[in-house]
């Protein structure tokens, strides 16, 4: 077993881009090999942080929901309260994704309400979205 998954993927991406792509015999093959190498580089980053970035989002969402006024988006209040107590069934990415997605669904409803009723909450949600996009950004070489 290669212990560091992300480094292994990054090494494969480098091999594909620098040694294999130039040996391909058509522009189509070279372009696609290059794209796959770039994706492997991105996935090397993602594999290392995938659970952490989603759990950071979940923690931020819980903080955001816990800090909401009791009157905020009444239709979603019970679901948000339940979310504060939830955690993934396991650390498998599919289980983490399920909780992450539930939090984002609740956020979408809350955001739509905040735009009409609570500018300060709207701003906090945009701050969350800014942090969220930073947690998930992919900048392959």
């Amino acid at each position: 077993m290669i212990p560091r998954l992300s480094e292994g993927l990054a090494d494969l991406a480098g091999k594909l881009a620098s040694a294999i792509a130039p040996e391909t015999s058509s522009r189509y093959a070279m372009a696609n090999t290059g794209m796959i190498a770039m994706l492997l580089s991105a996935l090397a980053v993602e594999s290392e942080r995938a659970v952490a970035s989603r759990m950071t989002d979940v923690a931020d969402l819980k903080t955001l929901f816990a800090g909401c006024d009791r009157q905020a988006h009444p239709a979603g209040r019970d679901a948000r309260a339940a979310f504060l107590d939830c955690s993934p069934a396991s650390l498998r990415l599919s289980d983490v994704d399920a909780v992450h997605a539930e939090g984002l669904r609740l956020l979408i409803d809350l955001h739509a309400w905040a735009e009409d009723h609570d500018p300060a909450l709207d701003k906090r949600i945009w701050d969350f979205l800014l942090a969220h996009t930073e947690h998930h950004r992919l900048d392959p070489p």
């Binding site: 189509y28 979205l129 996009t133």
Partner: protein, 347 residues
Amino acid sequence: MHPSLEPLGERLASYLADRWDEPVTLLDIQQIPGGASRETYRVGLRTPSGERGVIVRRDPKTSLIDTERSLEYRTYQAVHRAGFPVPEPLVLEEDPSHLQRPFSVMAEVAGCESAVAALAQPPYAAHRQRLGEGLWSLIGRLAAMDVGDLGVATFMPVPEHPAAHELDYWAGVIDSDALHPQPVARAAIRWLRRRLPPPPPRPALVHGDFRAGNILFDQHGDIRAVLDWEMAHVGDPLEDLAWSLDPLWGWPERSLAGGLLPREEAIRVWERASGLIVDREAFRWWQVFASLKGLAIWISSTEDFVNGESKEPILAVAGWLMTDRQNRILVDRLHPDVPGRWAEPLL
């Protein structure tokens, strides 16, 4: 010629011989990158009048953009008749029995480059200013064309309110294709619904994907053809201008639109060519819309990659990298404090 492509080339040559009623011999066939919504091949042929190159675009099993091939082909015919630089459309075949799937054939525009990455390399890098002026002149020229004269209204709807029509369409794509919650896209849709601009004074033919990546250019810095009309529609001419200026097309370069011209200069070139003055308030809307439309396309690509038969790497690039970048652009543009990390402020 790759052996696996030879049967396809031979079937095409046989088809064209019947269609053109003359001998046609296959010389070469190569699949070429780009044209992400169709499989694209460059085919060399010998006919009684000499050797010629054609470009064949065949429907894929699944694609980046779900489009209607006959609409695209008829648009090529309309703009070609009007003297707009596009490859000459030669054949549209919708019967899948010939090449397994429907396809179209265009004349090859030889001696050109289309890869955006080439713009940073010699000899093209020295012509970026010229290419930029050419690009936004063409976008403006299309905006100035009369929809009635082009004849496109005979096969395209003419929406009463283009902004509302386009927003409904792309919001619907997100509704149907998103595989997980999209809080940035949803916020953008709500922002756009609250601020719909009025219809344009005069509708125009909108290319729908007019940018540096969809042109053929030569080593002198001349644009020889505009490609990929599959998203063409009648609408607001500001749509093409805003789309061409989206920060994604120059990523991560921020100062030059599409890596070619400063954004304000691109707008001036467009205004000169179109004879129109940009309504800045409406244009703000179209800039946000452009980023939302891009995000919708990447979300749809993700769905195609996950659930479709095609596993083309371009679909995965769109699903991971492009989605991420477009989300960052939209957050930059809609965040009340305008952090401006990834995109210049709205013009």
